[in-house]
């Protein structure tokens, strides 16, 4: 422990390695990391994690990892990959987590742009990908793998098991116990702590450099805001390359000293969620949507009595659930009683199934969440809140304070963050948590940070009368119809996506006389719906073209139109015509980003035939599209897509 004490005494807790030493010294026996392995949850305490990280850092140093080097990290959420981040930081290096489902060609850009010499990867699959592109990445020298399975016959130079490196490092750490403390002492808070590549809805990805200072500040503000302690449990299952996961699973865990839990595999997340019962939960809207869809499908299959009970109590919850959660005084006593009963019979068991029985605070971010979806979780008693941020701002700009939840705002600026709206409606941010720079891109850095230090988010928004920020859309996406009505595509798409049958939607309307939409059906939900009706289908393309399915989607669209007609701001932007796409939008085909946001411009270009057909009044359109499979092969999907008309409603005047 002497090393930790010297590390602590010599300097304040202003870098992640120093925070780690401090946790090992002050709460050494508390669990820091858990992972389910061979069916059993394995636990590492903070002091064990410290030893592992030190050994890994020593091993890396012996392989020649130097101050200022970048370390690529590729894989699912595994404890050792999280530790690798800290190990790199101990040596003054910079971890660069990458999306594990990226195809190898996409990795080339990051590996060459970041001049990566060292990569720590999860398993054989990732090793194969890196070996495939090694020739294109001359800087890449060392590939270290975590899981040795299937790796026995690989003889390529520079390929090594992480086990060996750690074992080597452990000996080194024992022989030279002063090496790591002296390296940690050299670290400065203004050093770059991590480099996260933006997923890039437009253009090439850019490496966002964040320092220890900014990320610790961002984490501290979040920890203070929701009074998080070292008793929290979170499930770390989101891509490590996403700023949200880095904030919650790494930075906040390091600041508050709570436990991160890594799932057994990507397929078992739902199960692991229930077993761990996290107290603090974070997910993009898509995950909440999928959870809800799964529940709804199972509810449809439940017995008539259970179904009617569910629907009855969900109406109760919709009426008073979120008011009770917000501790508002104006709830009728009868409603309180009914809600308590519902809690016993429906909401409690439902929360348990969702793995949210112990959740104190849940956040969603990454994209706008549909108000109805948001309301659902709050009404069953899950304290779901929204936050707003970007990779460039360590994810946390605005947070919703407890008891001040509005369905359509993202909350108030976090402590120590200034937010203002520019003249053209763009949201500007200033504060400690801004990026240092884009890696080797001073031009791009100058573009987003102006002379006064304001960061331009590219989002359009405004403050309401209570000081809550409302985000309308990406500034560049907000357009105008030809009759000058404001057109915010995201707003309409989110309304569509709340229907369990609709997975993705893309709306068009800028400079046009009406709004039209592409729809992706949700294979799980619509497939189940079709099965219960005895409707045979062979696959996605076939199912999407069934007249019955089109009718189902038409009902959804018309409901959205009715909804839009209630609001004078958006009543003009009802959907007149739509079609159901013949294939699912997919990041492998560049239609979505890796965080699964629609690349609007790309989609519009790729399917311009379809858009023309929508606006020219045709009743159907033939299209053939190339698709990429997961293993890199390509194929073709062709279909004759019918185009449907949807009923629109006259705008209702709001009672003044």
């Amino acid at each position: 422990m002497t090393a930790s004490e010297s590390g602590r005494a010599s300097s304040p807790l202003d870098t992640f390695p120093r925070l780690l030493l401090n946790h090992a010294a002050t709460r050494g026996d508390r669990p820091a990391t858990r992972e389910k392995f061979l069916g059993i949850w394995q636990t590492w305490t903070w002091s064990q994690v410290e030893q592992e990280v030190r050994a890994m850092a020593c091993g890396l140093a012996q392989l020649g990892f130097k101050r200022g080097d970048n370390l690529a990290i590729v894989g699912d959420n595994r404890p050792r990959l999280y530790w690798a981040m800290c190990a790199a930081q101990m040596l003054g290096g910079v971890p660069v987590p990458m999306y594990q489902d990226a195809v190898s060609a996409e990795m080339v850009f990051v590996l060459t742009d970041g001049e990566i010499r060292f990569a720590i990867v999860e398993d054989q699959e990732q090793v194969d990908k890196l070996l495939e592109i090694k020739a294109q990445c001359p800087s890449l020298q060392h590939i270290l793998y975590d899981d040795p399975r299937g790796m026995r016959h690989y003889t390529q130079s520079g390929l090594q098991s992480l086990d060996e490196v750690i074992a080597m490092g452990r000996i080194h750490d024992k022989n030279q116990p002063d090496f790591i403390p002296s390296e940690i002492a050299k670290g400065r808070t203004e050093d770059v702590a991590v480099m996260l590549y933006t997923s890039g809805t437009t253009g090439k990805p850019k490496g966002v450099c964040q320092t220890h200072e900014t990320f610790i500040a961002a984490a501290q503000s979040g920890v203070g805001f929701d009074s998080l302690t070292d008793q929290e449990d979170i499930l770390s299952y989101l891509p490590m390359a996403w700023v949200g996961d880095h904030l919650f699973s790494y930075a906040q865990a390091m600041v508050a000293g709570f436990t991160i839990n890594c799932p057994e595999s990507g397929d078992t997340v739902m199960n692991d969620l229930r077993e761990i019962g996290p107290t603090y939960y974070f997910a993009p809207p898509r995950v909440f949507e999928n959870l809800l869809t799964t529940v709804m499908i199972r509810m449809e299959d439940a017995s008539a009595m259970k179904r009617s009970m569910f629907h009855y109590f969900m109406t109760v919850a919709k009426r008073c659930g979120s008011d009770i959660l917000d501790q508002k005084p104006n709830v009728a006593a009868s409603d309180r009683l009914l809600y308590a009963l519902g809690n016993l019979l429906i909401y409690g068991p439902l929360r348990n199934v969702l793995g949210m029985s112990r959740v104190r605070v849940a956040y969603t971010a990454g994209a706008a969440i549909g108000p109805d979806l948001f309301r659902f979780y709050r009404s069953i008693g899950v304290n779901l809140k929204q936050l707003y941020g970007a990779t460039e701002t360590c994810a946390a700009v605005c947070l919703q304070p407890d008891r001040e939840i509005k369905f359509d705002s993202v909350g108030k600026p976090a402590p120590g963050v200034e937010v203002k709206i520019s003249d053209n409606g763009e949201v500007l941010v200033r504060g400690k948590l801004l990026l240092k720079e884009y890696y080797k891109r001073p031009d791009a850095t100058a573009e987003v940070i102006d002379a006064d230090g304001w960061f331009h988010t590219g989002d359009a928004g405004f403050f309401d009368e209570d000081g809550h920020l409302k985000i309308i859309d990406r500034a560049k996406d907000v357009g105008k119809l030809s009759n000058a009505a404001i057109f915010a595509p995201n707003y309409i798409e989110n309304k569509l996506k709340f229907f369990p049958h609709i997975k993705e939607a893309v709306c068009f309307g800028h400079d046009r006389d009406m709004v039209c939409a592409f729809i992706n059906i949700d294979m799980g939900a619509v497939g189940n719906w079709a099965e219960r009706r005895g409707l045979p289908y062979s696959g996605y393309t076939d199912l999407a073209a069934k007249p019955e399915v089109l009718e189902l989607i038409r009902e959804c669209v018309e409901q959205v139109n009715a909804d839009l007609s209630h609001d004078a701001m958006v009543a003009e932007t009802q959907i007149h015509r739509f079609l159901v796409l013949h294939k699912e939008l997919d990041p492998d085909d560049d239609e979505l980003t890796r965080t699964r946001k629609v690349r609007r411009g790309f989609v519009a270009e790729k399917y311009c035939v379809l858009i023309d057909a929508l606006y020219s009044g045709k009743t159907s359109q033939f299209i053939e599209t190339q698709v990429k499979f997961e293993d890199g092969r390509t194929g073709k999907v062709a279909a004759d897509l019918p185009i449907c008309e949807a009923k629109t409603f006259p705008a209702l005047k709001k009672a003044a």
């Binding site: 392995f37 026995r152 057994e264 397929d267």
Partner: protein, 261 residues
């Protein structure tokens, strides 16, 4: 690239003949299996492939011939004896317990290795408890190996066909066999499932050094993963050798293309 070493003859079949009444299922068939190799038996429908496998693991007793396992004569072996001798198999038409979970199904593969008596098992105390924990650990390793963690607690009857096949393989692996007999492991699968299954078979062979004898219809698969292939037609052996040799054999070509016999 491949590090496993093909060893001595581990299973030798000499002049096997098997008939059911007047039907001659197998006629004077001889071939051997080497340690650590992947050996395939192929042939058109009704060629006697499954009969051959049933002879190997003691379900059928051939009227003539000799089965020599590691130098010992095993001609009168029954299924129990085969299992004790380190032979495990999977079935063409999956024979799992549909109502039981994946985990329990695989645990049944450990049955032969359990020592505790029925009373101890019924009340689950002392050695029975210790033993079950050990076996469970072993089973979890297999679950991890075959990547079926997400269905651990799911009843087998609810699983799609491809996954059931994988569970069938898992149960056979739970016996820690020296020789693994697979009866059409790829039948009825789509391309992706076939690729996965090939990968797993090769991994088993590579990682545990298990000798694999498999029957398969899909020629592409067989040619890709086997070291040696024996070809049967109407109960007779018409070819034996490496995939390339077999592919060039005129008898094999005519049997598969349906030329007159």
């Amino acid at each position: 690239m491949n590090g496993r070493k093909i060893g001595e003859v581990v299973l030798d079949l000499k002049n096997i003949s098997l008939s059911f009444g007047g039907v001659k299922a197998l006629q004077d068939i001889s071939f051997n299996v080497l340690e650590h190799e992947v050996r395939a038996i192929i042939g058109p429908n009704g060629a006697g492939k499954s009969s051959m496998l049933n002879v190997i693991n003691g379900v059928y007793r051939p009227q003539q011939g000799d089965i020599i396992l590691r130098g010992e004569h095993h001609t009168n072996m029954d299924s129990y004896g085969a299992a004790k001798a380190g032979l495990a198999r999977t079935f063409q038409n999956i024979a799992l317990f549909k109502g039981m979970s994946v985990l329990d199904n695989i645990m049944t593969g450990r049955n032969l290795k359990m020592k505790a008596n029925m009373l101890q098992q019924a009340f689950w105390f002392g050695p029975a408890q210790r033993e079950e924990l050990e076996h469970r650990a072993k089973v979890e390793e297999i679950i991890d190996f075959l990547e079926i963690q997400h269905i651990r607690k799911t009843p087998v009857g609810r699983l799609p066909y491809g996954l059931q096949k994988r569970v069938d393989l898992a149960r056979a692996l739970a016996m820690e066999p020296q020789i693994l007999l697979l009866d059409e492991p790829m039948a009825g699968m789509n391309v992706e499932e076939k690729q996965d299954m090939c990968r797993f078979i090769l991994d088993v062979n590579d990682q545990f050094g298990t000798t694999v004898v498999l029957i398969e219809h899909d020629m592409g698969v067989v040619m890709d993963i086997s070291d040696r292939v024996v070809v049967l037609d109407y109960g007779k052996k018409i070819g034996d050798g490496t995939p390339d040799e077999v592919r060039a054999n005129p008898d094999v070509i005519s049997a598969y293309l349906g030329a007159s016999h």
